[in-house]
Symmetry: C2
Subunit: 404 residues, 2 copies
């Protein structure tokens, strides 16, 4: 939570935290600390034990004032144009930061964060260091990674809302598929043989109705292509009975918050192998959901899923760490889950390497999957909130395997 920033700065002996960028859109750290949209970005500045300051373009001033930072000023008010005239365009930006630091009498360690081009970022850091500023890098988990991993009540409200709307989209799509006519094993939608492309357009329309966007796209894959977890689906592929369909949707709302939900199903009847995959994955998810709670080392949730999947006779990534295999392209080939918030992949990660205990307010996906090359794959995913007793599922959609 935002309030963790102060204590983490103290713990890391950081006197000033600067978060900057040229837009809040692709810069979740900046979006997080300012709590509003800034089309042209800005500079967030926080000295330890002081209230933060935000500098923005005059164009973003109105939006800036709607955010979390009480003291808002413009680049112009801080004399940015004058610095351009005096020091030249290239040096004006480091000079502006230097001016802020001097005004707040910062002499200790300074961390500069925010998603930015590393090549020009390195230039900026080197320049500020040459001007005497004690810039230091921040080890992972960074101050902002720690803060962002624990969601506030306000953030949870946003995520719940995205979850509700995402669930509506998924149900609409499943209803559409259920009610579609079938012609010799193929689905017919609006009088034509349905393809992945047809369904994806329907998904986009439903997302629009729910005022959601899917900046990273949506996975709707059928048949063999479900064996590749990142295959988005081949637009021309026909929607056919008895084939595995992986529908993985990860939309974002205007608030900036994301959600992540996956259902795997077949239309009509599934064959025995598909049932075996589904059962393994569903049991793995149940096992993980059963142990998730505050204090649990993240890796334990993943181990639970691996236990179940291995018991069903499939490989898992754990075999690599055990040195049993060198690569994996069959079985449970990825991690169990990841945090969700202002990005669709953040801390905490439910991976075998992550020993950190989970905390109340973490929002994570729980998405085991089993994939068999040249056959297909099954993945089931929900987004859940960790609390002191266990976890709460934020996506209330049934896991129906055979749509009839």
């Amino acid at each position: 939570m935002r309030k963790d920033i102060e204590s983490d700065m103290k713990r890391k002996d950081v006197e000033a935290l600067i978060v900057l960028g040229d837009t809040t859109l692709a810069n979740p750290d900046l979006a997080y600390v300012v709590g509003t949209n800034l089309a042209r970005g800005g500079i967030y500045f926080k000295r330890a034990n002081s209230q933060p300051l935000l500098l923005t373009s005059v164009l973003d001033l109105q939006n800036a004032k709607k955010g979390k930072v009480k003291t808002v000023s413009t680049f112009t008010d801080f004399g940015f144009e004058k610095l351009m005239v005096k020091h030249g365009q290239a040096d004006a930006y480091p000079r502006l930061i230097l001016k802020i630091l001097k005004q707040y009498r910062v002499s200790g360690k300074v961390v500069i964060a925010g998603r930015n081009d590393l090549a020009s970022g390195t230039k900026l850091v080197d320049r500020l260091r040459s001007l005497g500023v004690r810039i230091t890098g921040d080890s992972s988990p960074t101050i902002l990674e720690v803060a962002r991993a624990t969601k506030s009540t306000e953030e949870l409200e946003e995520i719940r809302e995205v979850g509700k709307r995402t669930t509506k989209v998924v149900e609409k799509v499943l209803d559409k598929l259920r009610s579609a006519k079938r012609r010799r094993g193929h689905l017919v939608l609006d009088g034509e043989l349905a393809t992945v492309g047809t369904v994806k357009r329907y998904i986009s329309t439903q997302l629009a109705i729910q005022e959601l966007t899917a900046p990273e796209g949506t996975i709707f894959a059928i048949g063999r292509s479900t064996a590749d977890p990142h295959n988005g689906g081949v637009p021309s592929a026909k929607i056919t009975e008895r084939k595995l369909i992986v529908f993985d949707i990860f939309p974002q709302s205007e608030s900036g918050y994301w959600f992540d939900l996956t259902r795997t199903f077949v239309i009509g009847r599934a064959d025995r192998r598909a049932h075996r995959l589904f059962e393994a994955v569903q049991q793995a998810q149940d096992a993980s959901l059963g142990v998730l709670k505050e204090g649990l080392p993240a890796q334990t949730a993943m181990s639970e899923a691996c236990d179940v999947i291995e018991r069903h006779g499939f490989k898992t990534v754990r075999d690599i760490f055990r040195g049993k295999i060198r690569k994996i392209n069959s079985g449970f080939v990825h991690s169990l889950g990841h945090g969700v918030g202002l990005t669709i992949g953040e801390r905490p990660y439910l991976s075998l390497q992550n020993k950190d205990p989970l905390t109340t307010g973490n929002v994570v996906t729980v998405e085991p999957g089993v994939y068999l090359p040249r056959y297909g794959g099954v993945r089931i995913e929900d987004t859940v909130l960790i609390n002191s007793n266990g976890c709460e599922c934020l996506s209330n959609t049934r896991k129906e395997f055979e749509l009839s």
Copy 2:
């Protein structure tokens, strides 16, 4: 263009360029060099005078092979997991980069680019420097800014396509507004009084039909709120005759490329002041479009627009640079335009400070605007391609001021 990377590396005496990140989505530099989607990102490595190498997660390998880099390998193939065991999780990533650099016998300057958190980026750079790597920052225009500013034929095709679809959305929306019934000066859509919210939902649906997304939203503002160029529109505001409406749409297609288009209009008749604003802005845009061509200093295009707008009796940002005023909140308060490509704001910028000559293959917005606080604003924007004879408008939509 991508081929400029080699010459720019040579000019800057850079022996190796590394572009990295954890996803291609919010990382246009990485997306650009790899030319494909990598959900988990990767490391692009290019030694001067050599073909590039791309390292990705095994999950992204199939997508990676569809991209521009011929030599693709996985983190696992480069022994990432082993490095984790040997050096610990925190040090494995710099060790992996070091391993690549050693394998390619790089001893000269190395630039690390790509949109990443600066705090952990600084940590990475410092660590690599401590391991003997000669990392250097890159001054703006960076190697990738230069390459990306000139679009290839393939990129232009993508942008033209987004432009075509964006134009379709705009025309659908204008048709809908034109054909809507009116009740005592208010627009009625689907039996109800239309609001900005109603229209925005219609816009979203049309975007979905055109397979476009609008990750930064859409501006549809009416009345006084048009005086603030970044006001997206108040959802509850009714759509009323005779009021200025600014409709600024900036969608992205699945290709990653964006487009930017603004129309300002009133439904029914506009008052005299609105006409004055519209004429000033339209003439300013015409003047800029008339001079834009290869070789023109970018600032000249902006000066042309300022000339026209000042002649119409409005202030411009030029007055700040001339020291006539300290701030500006009335008149032409922003720059003339910006590049469009894998982002919605990139080089070249058509600003008063930018003396660089334009080149064939630049794609820029031309968007003069005049804003009067407490009254409203007018902005007209097209996205154009610079060529040796002039410029080509990529958005073929009329500029109808009074919809009837």
